[in-house]
Amino acid sequence: MIPMSWYLLFAAALFSIGLYGVMARRNTVAILMSVELLLNAVNINLVTFWRYLTPDRSVGMAWAVFVLAVAAAEAAVGLALIISVYRNRDSVVAEELDVLRN
């Protein structure tokens, strides 16, 4: 039997890694990949809670499916944005995209 907390810890670690990636990576695409990591970590959390606490109800699972769908949509739109930005500004470095500065 795997204690629930192991799954949770795993998810937390994955989330932290993804967080680090969001904050520290230069390339925007890399940032997006880190965001996927974040979402996956969340999904794991959801499924863990579902499995351990309310396996008879479909709430957790449904929610996880929704997160999945949303992540997909968000990845698509985000990449489209990156491509558009790349075309206009010729840069995919997040640091250089500071039009909203000050």
Binding site: M23, A94, E95, L100
Partner: protein, 756 residues
């Protein structure tokens, strides 16, 4: 004629000229011809009406007149007055013998002057171009204005003459004052360079102001008298207020002394209007006006009005001079008159301007009349007023004709620098201007009092006779003083008249101007003849009955009876009450030789001396006036008019100017009052500046400091917004972690040991 018709006609007498004034001013101003024709119509209407009314009065029985002097009286209720609503000021007309004789003289003289004026202003000649300056030999462009004011003047004079109350008289009085101002300053744009001998020559504008101001001083005091008059008598009406009964009542009420003071207050008006010392200074300068104006003002109308007013209130003056009064009114009036007569005569002797001599002559003659009033010689004063009106108007118009002739000569030889009015440049005009010469001669003789044939002799003789009578029969010393002074003045009058005639007409022309002079137009000579006629015959109405030879011929001292009838009964009653001296009670007195000898002596003597000095060997060109050498420094004193103008300037005018310009304007108004205002302004301003400084510091700088703080804060805060998403994520995560840490710490009590 029926009384109603006469009353209506009396009302209409002043209407003609007044209406002419309004119509000319409002409508016919542009047309000079129409204007003078309208003016003529006005004065002709008043002439006809005035003579009609006057002759009707003369047709009355004398004894009837003595009892009821006021032949025509009518008035309208004009103004509710005082606290009693039933009390109304009444305005109206009244005709008594005095009014009648005045009407005869005034209307005729003014009509002659109007006829003369058309010629004087060169009607029909090429039109003058310069406004406000006399245009020699060219038609006056402002002719309409002239006739408008002259009509107003005539209307005002007639209003004054027919007035039945003191207030209406005063109205006419003041209107004439204004007209004198505007007519003396008729040529308003004229100005003089400093004349010869560096004596400044007054400009017409200033002369008009001077005349108005001087008479104004007198009028203010007279107004006090008028108010006092109403206060005592309760009415302005002459017939009511100056009846014996009313005067007796007044004496009982306020006392004769108060009436004496009232007399002097009212008399002051005469002093101003009739140019007596000390208010005589305006009259010579009034010569700046056109000659018809001088004739009107100084002969027919204005100065006559002054004397007329005193004559009107004669009963009051009589009571004021009477034994019960504490004020020596008689002495004052007679003294002023006599002094003025003598002073003016001495000045006239040394004048060079032909009109100047006549001006001082007028002052002198008015002094004669007023001295007569002071003596109590009512009839003499009136008589002399009437005759003087005729011959003085004649003299002025004739002198105007002379000046016109001289100007014609000036135009002829193109000399516009020589003064055409200066007698020293005339001479020999007898041949050049015969009609003018003869009429001038008649007028001059009348003025001198040439015996028997001129009017002036009879009226002057009457004055001397009355003065002698007053002294001789009543012991009234005033009479003696008057007699002596006036005799001297009459001597000088004859002398300077002869001097004037000689210098102007006899001998040879002294300058090219006189050489080329020519007789004036018919417009001007016809009035001269008309006035000369009256200057001769007017005196014959006043020949005393017991005068040797001539008296019994006429057997009626017509003037004496008719004129005397005006106040006869009043004075008789007053004399019975003991309120007036007996000499005031006019009754024809017996003929006495002494005054006749005196007047014959002085008149003939003066004329002879004048002829001796000037007529026997008339002055030639370049020859100085022999009087200068004879009198020496006295001549300068006389020539400069006893320096009255300079004295007044130093004593009265300069201090007044000083007070007004420096004391009131500089010190009080600008210094004190403005100083207060400036002080208030400065206080507010200073307060405002302080508030502003405070505001600038607190609100300005303070707010600015706050703003700067905010800006600094914002600037520093702005650093947070880098536009980089990753930094935002980092910061938010950090803060969230920190918060979570704190929550956990509190929850789990990690720092309880420290924070306990």
């Amino acid at each position: 004629m029926s009384e109603e018709l006469l009353t209506t006609l009396t009302w209409l007498i002043p209407v003609g000229p007044l209406l002419a004034f309004f119509v000319i001013t409002l409508f016919t101003n542009r047309s000079r011809t129409l204007s003078w024709m309208l003016a003529w119509a006005g004065v002709f209407s008043s002439l006809i009406l005035g003579w009609t009314v006057a002759l009707n009065v003369f047709a009355e029985d004398v004894h009837h007149l003595e009892e009821h002097p006021t032949v025509i009286a009518d008035s309208i209720a004009w103004l509710p007055f005082g606290s009693n609503a039933d009390n109304w000021l009444r305005m109206g007309v009244a005709v008594d013998p005095l009014t009648a004789v005045m009407l005869i003289m005034v209307t005729f003289a003014i009509t002659m002057i109007f006829i003369y004026s058309v010629g004087y202003h060169n009607w029909g000649q090429p039109l003058g171009k310069v406004l406000g300056v006399p245009n020699h030999m060219q038609e006056e462009p402002l002719l309409s204005r002239f006739f408008a004011f002259m009509s107003l003047f005539a209307g005002a004079m007639l209003l004054l003459v027919v007035a039945d109350n003191l207030l209406m008289l005063f109205v006419g009085w003041e209107i004439m004052g204004f007209c004198s101002y505007s007519l003396i300053g008729f040529w308003y744009a004229r100005d003089y360079d400093i004349g010869e001998d560096d004596i400044p020559h007054i400009s017409p504008r200033k002369a008009g102001i001077k005349a108005f101001m001087t008479t104004r001083v007198a009028d203010v005091i007279m107004l006090l008298g008028i108010v006092f008059f109403y206060r005592v008598f309760g009415t302005f009406n002459f017939a009511e207020a100056l009846s014996a009964h009313s005067l007796e009542h007044a004496v009982a009420g306020v006392g004769a002394t108060a009436l004496g003071i009232m007399s002097l207050l009212l008399f002051t008006g005469t002093v101003g209007k009739s140019a007596q010392w000390p208010l005589h200074v305006w009259l010579p300068d009034a010569m700046e006006g056109p000659t018809p104006v001088s004739a009107t003002i100084h002969a027919a109308a204005m100065v006559s009005a002054g004397v007329y007013m005193s004559i009107r209130i004669f009963p009051l003056l009589a009571v004021g001079a009477g034994p019960e009064s504490g004020v020596p009114v008689g002495w004052i009036i007679a003294g002023i008159g006599a002094f003025t007569a003598l002073m003016a005569a001495t000045i006239a002797v040394a004048q060079n301007d032909v009109k100047g001599v006549l001006a001082y002559s007028t002052i002198s003659q008015l002094g004669f009349m007023i001295a007569a009033i002071g003596t109590g010689a009512y009839v003499a004063a009136v008589f002399h007023l009437i005759t003087h009106g005729f011959f003085k108007a004649l003299l002025f118009l004739a002198s105007g004709s002379v000046i016109h002739g001289m100007e014609h000569g000036a135009h002829h030889v193109h000399d516009h620098h020589t003064d055409p009015q200066d007698m020293r440049y005339m001479g020999g005009l007898r041949k050049k201007m015969p009609i003018t010469f003869w009429t001038f001669l008649i007028g001059g003789m009348a003025l001198s009092g040439l015996p028997f044939i001129t009017a002036g002799f009879w009226s002057k003789d009457e004055i001397f006779a009355s003065a002698w009578y007053a002294y001789n029969h009543e012991g009234n010393a005033i009479g003696l003083m008057v007699l002596v002074a006036l005799a001297l003045a009459a001597f000088l009058t004859a002398f300077y008249t002869m001097r004037q005639i000689s210098m102007t007409f006899f001998g040879k022309a002294r300058t090219p101007l006189a050489e080329h002079a020519q007789e004036s137009s018919n417009f001007m000579t016809f009035p001269l003849i008309g006035l000369a006629f009256f200057a001769v015959i007017a005196g014959w109405a006043g020949i005393p009955e017991d005068f040797p030879i001539l008296g019994p011929l006429l057997d009626n001292n017509y003037a004496h009876h008719i004129i005397g009838a005006t106040v006869h009964s009043t004075l008789h009653h007053l004399s019975e009450m003991g309120l007036v001296g007996h000499s005031y009670a006019i009754a024809a007195f017996d003929f006495v030789w002494l005054p006749l000898i005196a007047s014959l002596t002085v008149a003939l003597g003066g004329l002879f001396f004048g002829w001796l000095m000037y007529g026997r060997k008339p002055l030639v060109q370049g020859q100085a006036d022999p009087l200068i050498k004879a009198l020496g420094p006295l001549h300068t004193f006389l020539n400069r008019k006893w320096y009255w103008d300079e004295l007044y300037d130093t004593v009265l005018i300069q201090p007044t100017i000083f007070v007004s310009e420096t004391v009131v304007y500089e010190w009080i108004d600008k210094g004190f009052i403005d100083g207060i205002i400036h002080l208030v302004a400065r206080a507010f301003y200073g307060f405002g500046r302080y508030v502003r400084a405070f505001e600038m510091a607190v609100f300005g700088d303070g707010v600015d400091w706050v703003k700067d703080q905010f800006l600094a804060m914002a600037a520093s805060m702005r650093q947070l917004q880098t536009g980089r998403m990753q930094e935002y994520v980092l910061v938010s995560t950090l803060i969230a972690s920190a918060l979570a840490f704190v929550v956990l710490a509190i929850n789990y009590g990690w720092f309880d040991q420290i924070f306990q």
